[in-house]
Amino acid sequence: MAIWIEKSECIGCESCLEACPVGAISMRDGLAFIEERCTSCGACVESCAQGAINSDASAGDADISEFKDVWVVAETMHGNVRSCTMEILGCGRALADALGQRLCVVLAGKGVSSQTEAMAENGADVVYLLENNRLEEGRMLPHARAISDAIRERKPAVVLFAATPFGREMAPRVSRRLGVGLTADCTGLDIDPETKNLLQTRPAWGGNLMATIISPDTRPQMSTVRPGVMKALPPEPGRKAEIMHLKVNIRPEDQRLDILKLKKESYKHVNLTDARIIVSGGHGVGSKEGFGLLEELAGLLGAEVAGTRIAVEEGWLTPDRQVGQTGKSVCPELYIACGISGAIQHSAGMLGSKTIVAINTDPAAPIFAIADFAINEDLFKVIPELIDALKVRGDEK
């Protein structure tokens, strides 16, 4: 693959100079010139409004053997790397070992270098540091720029993002920019022992089916990974990683979106994802008043109240409490499903729960197939007894 300038087309505007992540374009006799250190990454091609930069690469025929290493794009919150990144590192470690390649973390942000040690202790061989004042948390376009440029420059085989709101906003932009595939919200990742392709498994058709997706002809292979599914490795104190600083080149067009303010007070944050116990209700709860009973139980257990799409659509619950395919994905220690039939749209969001209790009057409800404890009885008879039992046992203690 090669990059060259069509001299008759070049107008000497210099807009390609900044686009090059390795600084391989200079001006000679008023025209752009590609120097030897060009890595043929193609980053400059789209920067030229004249179409004067040519590349013989197309997505299909890039030499995929050039692409090596497994990358995890770290996500930070309030300056600390999030637990979902640690989980993906755990999974990424296994993928890197299966490929016989390195596990690298891309740590992009403002003052994030304090996090490198934790990355090494959680399995990373290499930490690519992308530090820039414009890479504030939540600023998607600058992050997409820094990460796309780093991928073009270093050519990883696999890039994994967290399927958080931020990751799911940024990864598609990176994939479109690079012209490569992206598999959303993966719950399983493996390396095919023969082809070495990344096997990306995700729920499809509303969770009724699981699909394994591959991107056999393009690199990198990119996925967003559902938080709460993969397991982080136990940290290995003193484990070291190679630290590399990469150049960050944020452009004016990456700053087109302004965040004017954050409104916390108006939006009571319900942290279902981190809840240890969830009391959840569906159609069988029947009313907003019915949810009052669930709230009473939740209060005793120190639990959060959640529900199905129906419960939200009926107005019994606010949308931020919806669990399932179109709501949140949760994995608490205990999930008490009350009057929930267990349609796959709901169960897709709570299958990761460690212990599931199902209370339902319909003995054929699919929820019973995934429950640890099945109570085939009216929830309005059982829950008051449960509340009493908890109160009594509580007093005995």
Binding site: M170, R176, W205, G206, I213, I214, A369, D372, E385, A389
Partner: protein, 265 residues
């Protein structure tokens, strides 16, 4: 300012609430499956119509899909959209999100100037939520994902959107792309005279193929899709289930005991 030009991206999806899996083959039973307009897209149409009604302008609904996807475009007309484009071509079939975003993006470019592209946050069949950001990238415009309020002022978009711990008030210049969630609005009902007009021969529904949008066929459909489905299988959830029996009070006591044994409580 000039009249607003708003494109709305909509998708026809199977009603996944009714999806049935053949227990023997583990494959999807498509027979008799109902097709609906993707739920989030109704909110996208509503958001577009409200902005048009406030500022004046035009709402164009665009959908890529098989010929029968014209139904969802007629629904958009029934709600009040001004015109529709159905992108249908054998060359578009089998598209993943990258190829779909290319096709939608090419159509928007072909239609010329626009101020805003609005799409539903995610589709219930794929749940990828990737099309919005990928189309935004293709068009090289900023994006506001998961918007719950939209306002246009001095050629700028002001929006509130849900983030993880709060909502964010954001601002960006037009043109821009927005995706909306169910919290954004309550979609209006179909207006029957408009819906009936959408079935007339002169209804503003155009059907475009690959050539009409100037697409490179290597970038559309199956050919333009880097991701391939290698296999599908039914999820298995094997667990040991304990059925609790007796009077409600007995079941409640047993449950509390079991949960304590497991140290869950």
């Amino acid at each position: 300012m000039a009249q607003l030009d708003i494109k709305v991206l909509i998708k026809q999806v199977p009603n996944t609430a009714e999806v049935k899996i053949d227990p023997h083959t583990g494959t999807l039973m498509r027979e008799g499956m109902e097709s609906i307009i993707n739920p989030d897209d109704l909110h996208a149409i509503e958001a577009a119509l409200r902005l048009r009604d406030a500022h004046g302008g035009k709402v164009t609904a665009i959908s890529m899909g098989p010929p029968q996807a014209v139904d969802v475009l007629r629904e958009a007309l029934g709600m009040g959209a001004d015109e529709c484009f159905l992108l249908t071509d054998r060359a578009f079939a089998g598209a993943d999100t990258l190829a779909t975003s290319y096709t939608l993006g090419k159509c928007i470019q072909r239609l010329g100037r626009f101020d805003l592209v609005i799409a539903g946050h995610q589709a219930i069949d794929g749940d990828t939520a990737q099309i919005g950001p990928q189309v935004a990238e293709f068009l090289d415009v900023p994006q506001v994902i998961r918007a719950i309020t939209l306002e246009i002022k001095d050629n700028e978009l002001l929006a509130e959107r849900t983030a993880e711990e709060c909502t964010e008030v954001v601002k960006c210049p037009l043109p821009a792309l927005v995706t909306v969630t169910k919290e954004a609005n309550d979609p209006r009902y179909l207006f029957i005279p408009l819906l009936m007009a959408a079935f007339e021969a002169e209804a503003p529904v155009k059907v475009w193929g690959s050539k009409d949008i100037g697409a490179d066929e290597a970038s559309t459909g199956l050919k333009g899709s880097p991701t391939k489905v290698q296999r599908t299988f039914t999820p298995s959830h094997k667990k040991k289930i304990e059925k609790l029996t007796g009077a409600p009070a007995d079941m409640a006591r047993t449950l509390v005991d079991r949960l304590r044994e497991r140290r869950v409580l």
